[in-house]
Symmetry: C2
Subunit: 229 residues, 2 copies
DNA sequence: CAAATAGTGTCTCTTAGACAGTATTAT
DNA sequence: ATAATACTGTCTAAGAGACACTATTTG
């Protein structure tokens, strides 16, 4: 897998990818964490991630590490930022490329976590634990990115299953932004965004209340007009 | 300068920084380019940049390379994206961390380009030349970032000298967005943004027309409300 | 004086948000 | 029936953009 190359002439380094995978479960924003099997931070929680192979793209490495460490396959994956403080890894000079991934709340087991050491944990709980390296900063930065992207990108749909209701979409916004949104205005607003939502023609009924129309995400890459906080 | 470390155990790589420095000169958006002294792309233009030292932060490396290769000192510097395609550098596995920098149009010579091989060139001209590595993609990505940030960040002020008029600020927007903006509405709009502009109390007269009030940039990090295109 | 730029006034049209009211379900 | 959710209607206030008009300079 890992090819050889000539010994380094200049300052060399390891390059790793780390991934913040977000989902909404039990009405809370949750993040995928793994239990570390080695020092530093042995036994504690950390973000999934690992070294990039020699013949591998960054995004490919992120997907591979995610699959290996958590068993997850994500549809939304985006580079956030690269961390390069000289002492960020006490062992060797290592650069960390952070990725943000987003998943729907799939039923436990279905493409879920085969890996024993992987678990969903509410974001605020993980933020309160002692994370190794600069994983705390990474989590904060990824969250900020996700919050910002809700406004102008269809990323919220990545938190939903392929077919979803506007109520489900609204909950994503409410939970991630931590605010309450007027259902009536939110419905009008999202439907008015060009190519954001595509009506399926079906409706679903979940619990009491009028059945909701279902939608799939459209071709829009930018929300125009944006959904303001 | 470059410390030693133990020989690599896993896939190692070189890490470089590349910088897109933008300014507005002669009413055009221009970018700093250097003439390459080695292959690949020998004799052609390229973005300034170079390898990160072992004991150096990424941003520090970007500032150092910029100083060494172009003699420039910038105030605005921001990480954009990291490029990691396995074949992006034909010689060795090299990751490239892209930075966006912005400068005012300083009078030629003053903290200008000591370096012979560095030059300002209009962005569209550099885009039309044959750039080495993935510098073309980098330039496109940096431009998109700059255009987007005009809307919601005070980055436009970084294109201006410490004290500037609203007319000068408007020109930055017009040139970078490639659109015409209504001077009256633009003036009202920018002045209404919280903590964006701070009046100096002075006015300056450049050519014909009523003298303009001058401003310095305020404490705002986010423009609220934003300046829409 | 004319031409050019800075800045104010005002009008119109669109949109965001508040909130009342109607539709349709589970229990 | 009651409660809960989905969705429509409507009003109000704020904001964006068009554009006329005033202010102050250079030549």
């Amino acid at each position: 897998m890992t090819k050889r190359q000539k010994p380094p002439k200049y300052s060399w380094a390891y390059v790793a990818v780390d991934i913040v995978v977000l989902t909404v479960r039990d009405r809370r924003l949750q993040v995928m964490a793994i239990r570390r099997g080695r020092k530093p931070g042995l036994g504690g929680l950390a973000l999934p991630g690992g070294f990039v192979h020699l013949d591998e793209d960054l995004e490919t490495a992120a997907r591979r590490e995610l699959r290996e460490e958590t068993g997850l396959e994500v549809d939304f994956l985006e580079q956030v930022k690269t961390y390069g403080a000289p002492d960020r890894d006490p062992r060797n000079r290592t650069f960390g490329v952070l990725y943000l991934a987003v998943m729907p709340n799939l039923p436990e087991g279905a493409a879920g976590t085969d890996a024993d050491d992987a678990q969903w944990i509410p974001v605020d709980e993980l933020l309160a634990t002692d994370l190794p390296f600069d994983h705390h900063d990474m989590l904060v930065d990824a969250l900020e990115r996700a919050r910002a992207k809700l406004e102008y990108s269809p990323i919220a749909a990545s938190f939903c299953r392929p077919t979803f209701t506007i109520g489900q979409l609204r909950q994503v916004y409410e939970i991630i932004w931590g605010v309450g949104l007027d259902p009536a205005n939110f419905s009008r607003k999202t439907r008015s965004v060009d190519d954001f939502l595509v009506e399926t023609g079906d409706t679903v009924s979940e619990g009491p209340g009028r059945p909701a129309r279902t939608y799939t995400v459209g071709s829009a890459t930018v929300l125009n007009p944006p959904i303001n906080r």
